[in-house]
Amino acid sequence: MASWYPVRMLPPLSLTSAHASASPRMSLAARAAVIVLVLFVEKFVLNFFVNFDGPLSTTRLGMLLNAAQLLGLRFFVSLAALLALFVYVSGSERLRLLNTTFRCVPIRAPWLVLQFICVVALAPVLWFLGGERGTLLPFPLSVSLLGVLGAAAAVTLLMAMAPWTLWTQAVKATGTPGSYALSSALVATAVLYWSQELWEPTARVTFEMVRHLLTPIIPTLTSDPITRTLSTDNFSVEISDICSGLEGVGLMLVFCCAWLVCFRAEYVFPRALILIPVGVLLIFILNAARIAALVLIGHSGHPAVAIYGFHSQAGWIAFNAAACCIAVVSRHIPWLSRVPPTQNERPVRSLTDGRPTPDRPATDQAGGENRTATYLLPLLALLAAGMFARSLSSGFDTFDGFRLVAGAAMLLLAFRRGLTTLSWRFSWRGPVAGVAVFALWLAAGSVLLPPKTMPAALSAFPEWERYYWIAARATTSVIVVPIAEELAYRGYLMRRIIAADFETVAFAKVGAWPLILSSAVFGAAHGAMWVSGIVTGLIYGIALVRTERMGEAVAAHATSNLLLCTYVLLLDHWELW
């Protein structure tokens, strides 16, 4: 490490790695992440000071500046993502050493103050840029000052996070992957700029495909290629740019590339690259089929279902189906896959709350079953049934009962496959944690969610149907969801972060990071209430880790859902359901 860092700068670095571990500071990766976050927040705030309709959109220099900031942002986002991925994939030893060195360096507050001053100084320059709010400086001078202050803000932030020498060493240490990332980001930004021109021609291709698909089925179909509108006697669809299929193509590109990078050892290259165009073609065809189905549903007398339910779900259903198809089929084609189906045998284990049970032979316990499926399928069934039900709805989840049936069926299957080995007992702690979560959701909901009464569609149901719907929703919420989510997020994900063979991880051994990460994923699934969701995940997770009983987390979850359910029904606060 000595060769990595000048001896003259050693005072803070005379700390040994042992000291560093005793008093750990941020690593290189953490500092880079903080820099990206700070710059992002500052740009977000400074945007409020800019009048984009002024000279930035009328003068040549202004337009140049605007284009530069747009493309610059895209370039830096691409570069940051690519650099992180390349460095991760290359696993550079030099960077690993440098990471440790960074842990010995403190954050330098004076530079942070300077950085803050630069950012504050940027605000009036941006505010008066162009002169329509008064004049600070002529426009060209303002632009120059903007450049100088922006560069100063970036440099001072770097200096605040670590000495300049360390940053130059970090740049050198990225080596070839760094230059690849730089050139890839440049190419990606340029191609991205050009690709804006793709929307219209792609939408025209999609329009023609849909027209050819529908003409034999609906003889009365009329089409207007100018507006790209397809009309039947009682329904009409315009295939606008956003329906062109490019969004799905983008998603599929990301998926295929990520899949091939993650599992590159299992594929034969360059043959496997064929999966990328195949995936793109597949999702493009599925998008045309989606729009054709949309027209058919609308034409058959269900325009509300077509518009509100089907269109919002069908794109995701098609993408998920195509992605899973690529993942499964590609691995069964020997021409593409290196791994024969019989390899990768995994020892089968069964555990009680993560601990092996030596009194039972391993082969009897799980019998070669897919334990990941046992933990995940109940939640996946809930999600899939929810998507399917919403695709059939016309703005209200009429078929919400599908979730109950699918979730309960998968839970029964999961218990038959061996979930009885987990401890399902619980004490007073679980329900108390549930009450705390309920209070948190009430508080957060009152701030974040606009009040809603019972949906009009539900009120219009016949009485018995309404009670049936509410009973099904309540049963799903209080019984099925808590078990399914706790199995997936805490039973599987929290331990899977630690080890691939997640069942060997005792709950008591789960540290802070797996708990936080699994809670973050859990929170992200709760939409506008994501912050409360993260805190809730932490509470349930702590209840489980402390007691080593799955039942404790489930009891907490069920209690909070039961209280929420009661609150919704008694006080007519449907925004929480």
Binding site: V89, S184, I242, L246, V249, L253, L380
Partner: protein, 65 residues
């Protein structure tokens, strides 16, 4: 080196694809009579959770065969 080149190519395409989603369209058009956007952002989390979970199950199934 071969791996790095492959990964470079793959990630360049990936970043292009992801950026394509993020910057779908700079200027909005008037809304059509019945618009059918392919990807609904409000369903993104549940759809991606479903996909990630499904892939985890598929991979685990492969391992124990």
């Amino acid at each position: 080196m071969r791996k790095v080149i492959l990964v470079t190519a793959a990630l360049a395409v990936a970043s292009l694809g992801s950026a394509q989603i993020g910057f779908a369209k700079d200027k909005d058009k008037p809304k059509p009579s019945t618009a059918a956007p392919e990807i609904d952002p409000s369903s993104a989390m549940s759809a991606l959770t479903l996909l990630a979970g499904g892939l985890a199950v598929i991979r685990a199934r492969r391992k124990i065969r």
